[in-house]
Subunit: 452 residues, 2 copies
Amino acid sequence: MAHTQRQLHLGAFVYGVGHHIAAWRYPETNTQGLFTFDFYKRFAQTAERGKFDMIFIEDIPALPEHLETSVQYTVPVRAEPLTLLSGLASVTSRIGLAGTVSTTYSEPYHVARKFASLDHLSRGRAAWNAVTTSMEITSQNFGQDHHLDHSVRYERAEEFVEVVTSLWDSWEEDALHIDKASGLFADADKVHAIDHRGRFFNVKGPLSVPRTPQGRPVLVQAGSSDTGQNFAAKTAEVVFTAWQTLEEAQAFYDSLKGRMERYGRSRDQLKILPGVLPVIGSREREAKEKEAQLQELVLPEVGLSMVSRTLRIDLSAYPLDGPVPDLPDAAEINGGKSRYQLLVDMARREQLTIRQLVARVTGARGHKTISGTPEQIAGHLESWFVNGGCDGFNIMPPYLPGGLDEFVEQVIPILQARGLYRTEYSGTTLREHLGLSVPDNKFLLKARHQHA
Amino acid sequence: MAHTQRQLHLGAFVYGVGHHIAAWRYPETNTQGLFTFDFYKRFAQTAERGKFDMIFIEDIPALPEHLETSVQYTVPVRAEPLTLLSGLASVTSRIGLAGTVSTTYSEPYHVARKFASLDHLSRGRAAWNAVTTSMEITSQNFGQDHHLDHSVRYERAEEFVEVVTSLWDSWEEDALHIDKASGLFADADKVHAIDHRGRFFNVKGPLSVPRTPQGRPVLVQAGSSDTGQNFAAKTAEVVFTAWQTLEEAQAFYDSLKGRMERYGRSRDQLKILPGVLPVIGSREREAKEKEAQLQELVLPEVGLSMVSRTLRIDLSAYPLDGPVPDLPDAAEINGGKSRYQLLVDMARREQLTIRQLVARVTGARGHKTISGTPEQIAGHLESWFVNGGCDGFNIMPPYLPGGLDEFVEQVIPILQARGLYRTEYSGTTLREHLGLSVPDNKFLLKARHQHA
């Protein structure tokens, strides 16, 4: 019976015109759709047809450093996530809407207000992916000549999330009266200034948006470093991550969930969803050929420069068929530590040459690629899910719109038939889809504490 | 012939559940609609049916200071404007979408990116109302204990707009190739870092969004002080303003348009739209009764506290039926100077008591209220328009949704019959509706200059 089984949670990850780095060159890809609303509307409606928990949009508020390669050969342009999600809210009715906003380059009052607004206008479907932004060049678009240190970015992020959740709680649920006869709009005693004074932020509040349908929008995070895990264990409700093997995924799953108790949280208050890039064929050979075809569309300079960027070393100075050079530990770098470590571990474990490493990671940017038949892909997802590797997946279609269509039409029905996945939404909010309760309102907890 | 006449431009101004301060208590008002998307969707679609140039959303990222009055008796809660406009973009096809974002509490890279995204997703209908934010308490939501001085706010605003327009120009129109065969996505030589280093901002660029359908989103401003007028004369394409008499409107119109030449701009590159709050009745007496009914719904403490806030003096310490006390010149205050001066001038000119001043300004917040038959209202609009008072109006329905429905159904047809107003959109972008050309790309101008 589907009802008694633990259920998979799925995100549909929007990324340009597809996740494969050469997606835009793939014949079936609608590359012209990049800035038309209809392209994203089709994506969101297809994902909703597939009963996904949510769509997810990443973000970096900058273009990558080397315009010669990034702009000439890849698709680094993006619509701003909240603009896009708000548009999609009005053409969907159930699916969750998760968007990324950096805590390093934003103000908490703006972020709290935007996601609260989206939660109201979508009737309870908003989620915020709080990231610290690892790409150094971003700092130069925001008046800073140097990127903040990794640890300082996380300290700022923690305080930022603290301020945002306080603002979301600043209106109690029953503050609004809206009584035309007496003229009482709201009970001022249930609307709280937050009076936050901290290291990074001073914010008075209250928010100018009342408490939202979900109580609070869902909190998402994506960092996998030790610092990132503690941050997630304390506050995140969904974590996106990237692993190549089930063993890595299991170790991370146990490590992160194991940290939650010290923050007074139970393991089911957080869902872990690794990214997966599925390349689907009706036969395995067809899928492998499709993957090879995508890989052939990657211009060599693009892959090399991409991996060089992640590893913070110019690999073009080394022989392509020689070994990946020795690299320092993640602790010594000031960037996206978990992605860095993933590549270093992969190169060491499999003793890869530079050419091999580039081929392996350019496609899915470090995420797991699975190419095979729908049954093989469903089997892989089930295996990670039932063996303690995850609570679901963030699905990364290699090219669009076809990559998502195929997943929804061919893989979802298998997962449903196996009782692993919903055949209809049972709730209306993203919290309901994910099985997440609403965190208690801080101001009510405080009041209770004072009475006790 | 309609074609040969100069045409009125109209904005439909969204403000809570209506512009009258007591709108929410009015029997016909849909007060529950405040945070439902369908409420705003109906507003936008009605305005589009009325062939309005644009809808317009104001913004203050804070609640007013005195929660006891503001939250208890008025409707200070709002959805964040860009969230709302993006949602409305997908349920409309022609009408312009103008939203307010403060230059005092934002980062130019974010603002440039959001409006560029909205311009793409709406196919050329975005406009940014750049305001400096006059409400002092806002500063406390953004880490500042004191509000920036009026003049510093404008200096920051000028640099802010300079950065934003440079970012909008950072992709040349023909930079995108999107050539699948060769793998060339964009011409890196036509994508420019802006390398801005100024007093308030250091921004490297380029924007991560290519040049938009309108070239640049339309620039709106609303300040009417001397500093505000110079800023508008230099950069604004639409100006919202508030006047009580045709003479004031004419003087402002001449003053602002007269300043444009010194910035190398022609008078038709800027449209001036005063706000008007129409109270419509099938007979004049019915309209006056409706206005009186709305006015009776204003609780006395609300009006007094609102006017006290604008005048920066606690009027409850003075006799209600005594004269408005002497007040300093606008030059000496650090807030919304033009609204302040408007009230001071009105009180002096008409020798109003405090009670009379409160009654006059609480309804429309200083904007012009016209109550009368559809013919009388159309006549008033025509008179200001043909006598050099304005290029059109920002229509402020007193209550919603009825106030806009009535205007579209009863006043618009009269304006159309008189040949003053479009019966169908002739273009698809907001620039086309307003008859505004696209400003030249700064990087092309620079290149031309270097070649000459």
